[in-house]
Symmetry: C2
Subunit: 229 residues, 2 copies
């Protein structure tokens, strides 16, 4: 670190909120296949967000997410209909926060750290999910990719951080559980922390994270060790 950290930006889906908590609900609809559906849904959601951005065919993240669910159901030959689609989409708006989220966020809050989120999720989806998880109170800035009509890892999305927080990216720790997102943020200019909950292998993208750890508590430790002038 060459500059002291002053603020934190978090990814939301997969980092603060557990996207696979929807698997339990899916399993009540499609017994035994909930986790497979959930994993495929998530992969496809990310894929569609990237392909649409590359082709400049932006659609709202909620729409992309719905499209991905239909594909995932098709791929597993599951008989999705409008009602079960709505039920699963609704579950996506009520994801569980990870157990380590609130304790870590509280530590930052007690020190008066400026906290925000920067997500692919559209503003409405994002506000609803954070409120439902009861962690909205921690964030002064809720930044959505829909402001720039493109998705991570484009510079336009990451640029929302310095623009809205009013400080250079070099002062903002970017925290994500998605290795590719942490890499994208690092490329852009943020110091970057990868929360690697499941001991996943590191992405081979030719860039190094500034820090890694098993949970958001480790990200807080890293932040406080690097926030003194």
């Amino acid at each position: 670190m060459t500059q002291a950290l002053r603020a934190v930006l978090f990814d939301v889906f997969g980092t603060l909120l557990d996207v696979h908590s929807v698997a339990q609900r899916a399993d009540t609809i499609f017994p035994g296949l909930g986790m497979r559906l959930s994993l495929l849904w998530r992969d496809k959601q990310i894929e569609y967000s990237r392909v649409r951005t590359l082709s400049r065919r932006y659609a709202l993240f909620s729409e992309v997410t719905r499209d991905a669910l239909w594909f995932a159901a098709d791929a597993l030959a599951l008989p999705l209909n409008d009602a079960t689609c709505d039920a699963l989409m609704n579950e996506y708006a009520h994801l569980s926060p990870f157990a380590d989220a609130r304790p870590a966020l509280t530590r930052w809050q007690e020190r008066g750290t400026l906290l925000g989120v920067l997500s692919n999720g559209d503003s409405e989806m994002l506000a609803r999910a954070l409120r439902s998880a009861a962690i909205d109170e921690f964030f002064s800035h809720v930044l959505s990719a829909d402001a720039v009509q493109s998705y991570k890892t484009t510079a336009a999305v990451y640029q929302l951080g310095p623009d809205r927080l009013g400080m250079p990216a070099a002062r903002v720790l970017f925290v994500s559980s998605n290795g590719w997102d942490a890499a994208g943020a690092k490329w852009f200019g943020y110091p970057s922390f990868w929360v690697n909950r499941n001991a996943a292998p590191r992405e081979r993208l030719g860039t190094a994270y500034d820090g890694t750890g098993r949970d958001l508590g480790a990200a807080a430790d890293y932040f406080f060790a690097n926030s003194m002038e």
Copy 2:
């Protein structure tokens, strides 16, 4: 079709050449896990090409492919080393053509149709793979994403077609087995044919292909039915 077709551009990896033929070789190195490694390797290769393009961090496709192999081996806890990595990369340069490729290409050739390929593969990788598969003779144009330092589905890559073929995209049938590639080409302005060999579900990207079929022969049928003025 509003305009008669005059030329064909093919995707290469997965469309003319079977990327999973490498699974057999992988299986001799990592018995029982060759197919899983091959599938994960391929997914990661595509993912890295997209993320690097979104972040404007282009690297040659052969490098991206090598990075993806290391990740895939890590993810499956397989003890890859430089020698086995080289052996698998070398296999990637000697992929088998699909059985339907040569007969279909011969039909076009006999009619004097202008044929080219448009691939993410870098020029050297592409030339070697087409030569090894003994189908290089069919193509007057071998177009590589490395000319524009970005990957599909950006417009810059698809623009190579009209630029190098000297005709509007509307006159060129774009043929790909990758649904997202056929969708990207369609968005760009090509009439687009999706070769769906494995009865995969269609991508939910809000666009329709002009034609779909089980093999390259079906693509040829479509072309000849739409190539008369």
